[in-house]
């Protein structure tokens, strides 16, 4: 009886090894198969005239236009402008969000002063401020950067504040029994403990910054990816509009990867992260 059990068990074990080794590569194949097929269909539909290129350009055309725009410098210039706006805005948002969260997270008085107004402000949709910002800051770079900064400081502030406030009180108590000074407690216990939440906030902030930028550049701008797309609209150039969309998509993907990389390096102490990386 036991003999048959052993015999039935061994082929299962042997089969399990190559399957687990194969799964990642197969996974990549199956994951990218359906988008690839979709693009193929799209191209085919455009080629046989099922889809009017007036409404939507074909993938081949998008690639060609993208290449042409790159060669004549239109795309790199506009991309650089957009990246600079997003970068500046995010930088300001990071400094402002982190400082405000530290003030309100580390002192009761600071919380009373800072938190209440911010909680009220955050209920306002930042995009509703576009007209006001144009009135205040004109149509230069300032309103666009300000809009990005405003929109993306909230997730950074809110998440870091929550992270600081939800530090395990037992760890704080431990720090007290070890005789850690306030400064040391902040440096060694509170800030590292709140870092995961800060990174969550940063991830949201990056997403919001692109959203803000799209709106700001399409409402009024003479440069940037959004402007390039609005310009193309006037000439019914769906291919250029789609190039812009692709760029936005790639930017979103790239910034997400950067934040993910930050999480993996800064939070390497979390066992789940190491498991996530190895599989």
């Amino acid at each position: 009886m036991s003999g048959t059990l052993i015999r039935t068990a061994s082929p299962v074990a042997v089969r399990a090894v190559p399957r687990s080794a194969w799964r990642p590569r197969l996974g990549i194949l199956t994951r990218y198969a359906s988008p690839f097929l979709l693009v193929l269909f799209w191209q085919a539909a455009c080629s046989v005239g099922l889809l009017s290129t007036r409404l939507v350009a074909s993938p081949a055309q998008i690639v060609a236009t993208g290449w042409a725009l790159t060669r004549d410098g239109t795309l790199p210039t506009n991309l650089a402008v957009s990246l600079a706006r997003a970068g500046f805005g995010l930088g300001i948002a990071f400094v402002a969000g982190v400082s405000l969260a530290l003030v309100s997270g580390l002192s009761r008085l600071g919380e009373d002063i800072v938190d209440a107004p911010l909680q009220i402000l955050r209920t306002l949709p930042a995009l509703a401020l576009v007209p006001l910002f144009i009135l205040w800051f004109g149509i230069g770079e300032t309103p666009k950067i300000a809009l990005v900064a405003l929109g993306s400081s909230f997730p950074i502030y809110l998440n870091l504040h929550k992270g600081i406030r939800s530090i395990d009180p037992k760890l704080l108590e431990m720090a007290r029994t070890l005789g850690l000074s306030r400064a040391r407690t902040i440096r060694d216990v509170i800030l590292p403990g709140a870092l995961p939440d800060l990174l969550v906030g940063l991830r949201f902030a990056v997403g919001i910054s692109w959203l803000m930028l799209v709106v700001a550049e399409q409402v009024n701008a003479d440069s940037g990816i959004g402007h390039m797309m609005m310009d193309a609209e006037d000439f019914l150039r769906t291919d250029i509009i789609l190039v812009g969309l692709v760029i936005y998509g790639l930017l979103g993907l790239a910034s997400d990867q950067i934040v993910r990389f930050l999480e993996n390096t800064l939070l390497s102490w979390r066992p789940s992260h190491r498991i996530g990386r190895s599989t």
């Binding site: 037992k170 760890l171 029994t177 060694d188 590292p192």
Partner: protein, 249 residues
Amino acid sequence: MNTVVQVTQEVPAPARDDAAVVVHGLTRRFGDGPAVLDRLDLAIAPGEFVALLGHSGSGKSTLLRTLAGLDPVTEGSVVRPREVSVVFQESRLLPWKRVWQNTVLGQDGADRRDRAVAVLEEVGLGHRVDAWPLTLSGGEAQRAALARALVREPAFLMLDEPFAALDALTRLKMQRLVSDLWIRHRCAVLLVTHDVDEALLLADRAVVLERGRIRTDVPIPMDRPRRHADPRFEHLRGILLESLGVHDG
């Protein structure tokens, strides 16, 4: 020995210059509730190992927190050495610092790592010096917490049910470890436990707390290492169980 008088409220402290820890007339209540600690007197000699027993809610942790300086002394007085360490039921390691960094947290000096490695080896954790705390087993984490307590060379070590969350086998190993460490370091120890056998294996004295007062305070005059088979063990076990209100015939 540098002692610190935390608060003395018109209660003259008893003349116990030889003691490491003196608690006198300590009363503690939360809000308007009943006194959790009720005019408590307790003295612990330098190097003495005291086990603190008592029912859940009898005030053991409250006493320990007061001694650790986590809770204020509002009524009565507490005298204790400046160098104290506490180990809780949970290891309370910082997950984002490696084991050795946790051990010497808050300590200065260029030889921090060497000191951490030495004390970690002493508690049998020399192979996990660079590990992240979240990858430690429960027993290993408590060893690290013990190492962190010992690296400060405390004159008074407090342990609040440090092995309660461990399995029986690991607990036995940890008890032996604490016994060895105590023999080597000879600091005063206050061990809170629910386990009468643990108290009898480790302590010089067992104190039973009941509703904030000391109900029983018995010396445990047995040579170490101790054996359950010792007739005095059985006798003391009976006394302690009796004062805990447990009768085993």
